[in-house]
Amino acid sequence: MSFLDQLIIHGPALLIALPLLGAFLTPLIGRVNDKLRNLFVIIILGITAILILLLAQEIFASGPITYVFGSTAPYVGKETVIRILFEIDALSIFMAMIGIILSFAAAIYSWAFMEKNTGLDKYYALLLLLTVGMLGMVLTGDMFNFFVFLEITSISSCALIAYYVNKAKSVEAGFKYIVVSTIGALFVLMAIALLYGQYDALNIAKLADSITFSFVDKIALVLLLAALAMKGGIVPMHMWLPDAYSRAPASVSLVLIGTTQAGLYGVFRVLFTLYGNVIELPTISMGWILVILGLLTMLVGVIMAMIQVDFKRLIAYGAVAELGYMFLGVGTCLTVLANPEVTLAQAPFAFEALKGGLFHVFNDALDVGLLFMVAGAVYYATKQTSLNSLGGLARNMKYTTVFFIIGLLAVSGVPPMNGFASKLLIYESTYQLNPILSIVAILASIMLLAIFVKVFHAAFLGPALPQFEKVKEVPKSMLIAMGIIAAFIVLFGLFPDLIVNTIVDPAANALIDNTGYLQWLTGGA
């Protein structure tokens, strides 16, 4: 067996183990040399990214991979107890790609952005740990493992949000975040315990196979849904999100997008896979709940973004609005799936909506991430966070301005950027469920454009202000990080068909049909 085959076989474990090893080694290397440590972190994340690509190729070609820890067989003894295992299907690897792109860009961005701060050993260790948590959440095939990774994510991101401990607002935001996410995670654990008590299993596939939608299952579903939606920042549980995003360092905000979307992944996984066999049983379709939450999220997000004056806080509310599109797309699909009278073949728009929702997960991560990096660059150059004190920056910061324009167009769904492709999918498919849905979605998009045009005018246009005469373009590492994300945005926008067919389509298929996920358990079929 060649080295590459070995790498793919052990890939699932290495995806977690490598960043974890890096996290423990970072403080040791940091004692030797700062530059070496930064390089080390980037290399570790780069190798992880390559591994994810290798695994993705394998998964898209030959279906889900399971990796059992500590043994070769998933069963212990009499085929009743299941070991801890990772189960990676197309959706998992799709989310992992998003996470690793964000982490990788954040590591490059941090090189210059965080340079002047102290405690960077811990910063980088926590960044790697956050990546571990994020990847673990999307890759694991075990409910309790999911909870553990959820908590790893919460703890490390809380410490990173409160990184500027000398700023009162940062500490407050960190405290709010940890309270909210701990309570959410505890309810997730409660739901896991309820499921465990009934079915004596923690494995997602095993649970999905044996779930009956009894009353206890309903309570577990509610707990999981509410807690994970809170982690995903869905209105009206979104209030922690602007606080956390705006007070964290810009590079951390970038990775936080990934953790938020890991929460959304949890919602999708629970609804489609864990409760996939009983998807038609609830009398009120969960899809409609998702759709209504999505619409609320969009509207509240844009209206609140309109009145913000803090640069990053405004983007954070914009990010909240973007989250609504994903819920709308996925919820539209769920309404059709949960309706026993309509099959998927009769309503092809449902699949398109799901593709749109999932594609938008990727696009939102890139767009909002780029905008956060621009906000960080503006802060780095001017030391100002309020939009009211900015102006005329385009004269001195040419590249940053270009990146902001790209982000602006992408986030508001203007062609040829990637946001347009996914939003087009969502508009045209939700229209067939109910025209009002797509009208609200388009309205929210228009308002997003208006909001970011306002930011563009306030920060980058206008006369050359005397206080910003000496402002210089930001260092290369930050430009490179922004450039990587911007390149992805343009690439996804110009060749949407390629991207949708290669990575989004398998992910949507994996979500709609959970037999692939249960395959190792039921032995084919």
């Binding site: 919460s154 703890i155 505890l186 654990l189 806080r313």
Partner: protein, 114 residues
């Protein structure tokens, strides 16, 4: 009836903890509330693994017989480990908040704008 008492205790602990988080204005009391919720969830997990007349799952010179189900205990331990980390983090943030504001009353600390 007697077998249901632990479950009632679980509900009680979670409700008390949630009400502490919702209605107490002192950060330390809110942290206590969160640890109470955690205790409730842990108690629930432990109760799931209970078997009547069983012994503790300790292998060194065990007398034999039915052992309590060890998996929920392992889960509880993991959850406690995480709980310790979270509590430590929250308390150290509380120290920092106190240092910045000189108070732990959430009303006086004041929220973020909007």
């Amino acid at each position: 009836m007697i077998a249901n008492i632990p479950y009632l205790a679980v509900v009680g602990l979670i409700v008390i903890g949630l009400s502490a988080v919702l209605f107490r204005k002192n950060i330390i009391k809110m942290i206590i509330g969160i640890t109470l919720i955690e205790a409730g969830v842990n108690l629930f997990l432990i109760t799931l693994g209970y078997r009547e007349g069983s012994i503790a799952p300790i292998w060194t010179s065990s007398p034999g017989g039915v052992m309590a189900y060890p998996v929920p205990q392992a889960l509880t331990l993991t959850s406690i480990v995480i709980g310790v980390a979270v509590t430590a983090l929250m308390l150290s943030l509380a120290i920092h908040i106190y240092r910045h504001h000189g108070t732990l009353d959430v009303r006086k600390i004041g929220g973020d704008d909007q």
